[in-house]
């Protein structure tokens, strides 16, 4: 099947098999490998992307279901090639990433969180990223990074 969608602001037409997830579609068909496959069954959040502004696990959505959708992945978050999004900058500065495998998903989830709630409490941040597993950081520095980005964006 052919689907038409917008990915990171760019209109794309992709040929997809109906049994492939949006995650595989992004990684293999669209060549955007920043979105990661940590579990492929919705438990880890590493594949989080925004579909029409909403954070979803792209492993739990078929590629064909994205027909007509507006998809934002980690590759599309930078406002310009030479500038990082405040979340990206804060994750670097505060040590919010280590191995980096969960990072794209957490940053996308955090972006959705801040879009909805620009000044979240620590508890709201922890609630917001409850579906994103990070095995390296203990979350302390991730929470700090999101708080710092929220301030920056305010």
């Amino acid at each position: 099947m052919n689907i038409r969608l917008t990915i990171n602001g760019e209109k794309r037409e992709l040929a997809v098999e109906p049994y492939r997830s949006l995650l595989d579609t992004l990684r293999n068909e669209a060549g955007l490998t920043g979105t990661k496959k940590g579990c492929d069954v919705g438990d880890c959040g590493a594949c989080t992307v925004l579909v029409d502004g909403k954070p979803v696990n792209s492993c739990l959505m078929l590629g064909v279901e994205a027909d007509g959708a507006d998809v934002l992945t980690i590759e599309g978050l930078q406002p310009s090639p030479d500038r990082l999004h405040p979340l990206q900058e804060a994750f670097i500065r505060h040590g919010g990433a280590q191995c980096g495998f969960c990072t794209p998903g957490i940053i996308m989830m955090a972006a959705a969180l801040l879009a909805e709630n620009p000044s979240p409490t620590e508890e709201e941040i922890r609630f917001g990223i409850a579906g994103n597993i990070c095995r390296c950081t203990g979350y302390t520095k991730i929470v700090e990074a999101i708080q710092a980005a929220a301030k920056e964006l305010a």
């Binding site: 109906p18 049994y19 919705g42 438990d43 989080t48 739990l60 078929l62």
Partner: protein
């Protein structure tokens, strides 16, 4: 994932016809279906995506109550002011269903049709006296939600039948509700025990237990003890014990039967203390 054929019917009749095929699976949110297909717990020769079916709706509230259409997502319920105001236990259960990412895709009807004994949204909706509307080749029927489940993963749905919506009636004034979920972590859990209580002071109290029987169950003897009575400490303790006696949990990797029984008592007591 194994390969399958895929359909996007535009009408309910078409959907019902497609869903009647052997090994046809209905896709709404997909957050359970795709997992089960990937883990080979379920097989699909064809997948019928009902998202484009005309007439299947989302969340709506009117004089009849809360209509949770087949396409209403958990997230819609979670952020609905009406649900916060009138269906508090449902809101509590939804906030603990998977992650925000999952809730943006998962539908309440899907959570119910999956018929997991531990499904979070079922106990509050049964406690609220919800009914479920089903459409099949032979037409439409309505069933009380508590009669919908036959066992783990099993419902009264016949092949080709599609759930249109769930209707949760408007609560009487002063109705109090709570859902308490017990798990090892604070999120991303399948309930080891779930307890929903809908309490009308001076009237009926409904207690529904999740994850302690093949289907969510009402603790009817406990409810009977409380009927039209003030919730005293003594009565609450008795009701909690009755609920324990009514539960029929199993032991598995999540918890032992003995512990689950014990928690039915603790959580039922805590729930009743909080609604009185």
């Amino acid at each position: 994932m194994r390969r399958f054929a895929y359909h996007e019917p535009a009408t309910l009749d078409e959907a019902v016809a497609l869903a009647a095929a052997p090994n046809a699976q209905i896709l709404a949110g997909g957050t359970d279906l795709l997992v089960e297909l990937k883990e080979q717990l379920r097989r699909a020769d064809c997948v019928v995506n009902i998202k484009k079916v005309a007439g299947l709706g989302g969340l709506r509230y009117d004089a009849g109550g809360l209509h949770i259409g087949a396409l209403a997502t958990a997230r819609e319920v979670e952020i609905s002011p009406i649900v916060l105001d009138k269906y508090r236990s449902l809101m509590q259960s939804v906030r603990e269903l998977g992650s925000i990412q999952v809730r943006h895709r998962a539908t309440i009807v899907g959570n119910i049709c999956r018929a997991s004994p531990s499904a979070d949204t079922i106990p509050p909706l049964i406690a609220d006296g919800a009914t479920i509307r089903i459409r099949g080749a032979a037409g439409e029927r309505g069933v009380p939600l508590e009669d919908f489940f036959l066992g783990p993963g099993k419902t009264i749905l016949a092949p080709g039948e599609v759930v249109i919506e769930i209707l949760a009636p408007s609560p009487l004034p002063d109705t109090r509700k709570i859902y308490i979920k017990h798990g090892r972590r604070k999120a991303m859990e399948l309930a080891t025990v779930g307890v929903a209580v809908t309490h009308v002071p001076g009237g009926e109290t409904r207690i529904v237990l999740g994850a302690v029987a093949p289907t969510p169950i009402r603790a009817r003897r406990a409810e009977e003890l409380l009927r039209a009575n003030r919730l005293t400490d003594e009565l609450i303790a008795k009701a909690a014990q009755a609920a324990v006696a009514e539960s029929r949990p199993i032991s598995n990797v999540r918890a032992s039967a003995e512990y689950r029984r014990e928690m039915v008592g603790v959580l039922t007591r805590r729930a009743l203390e909080q609604v009185r």
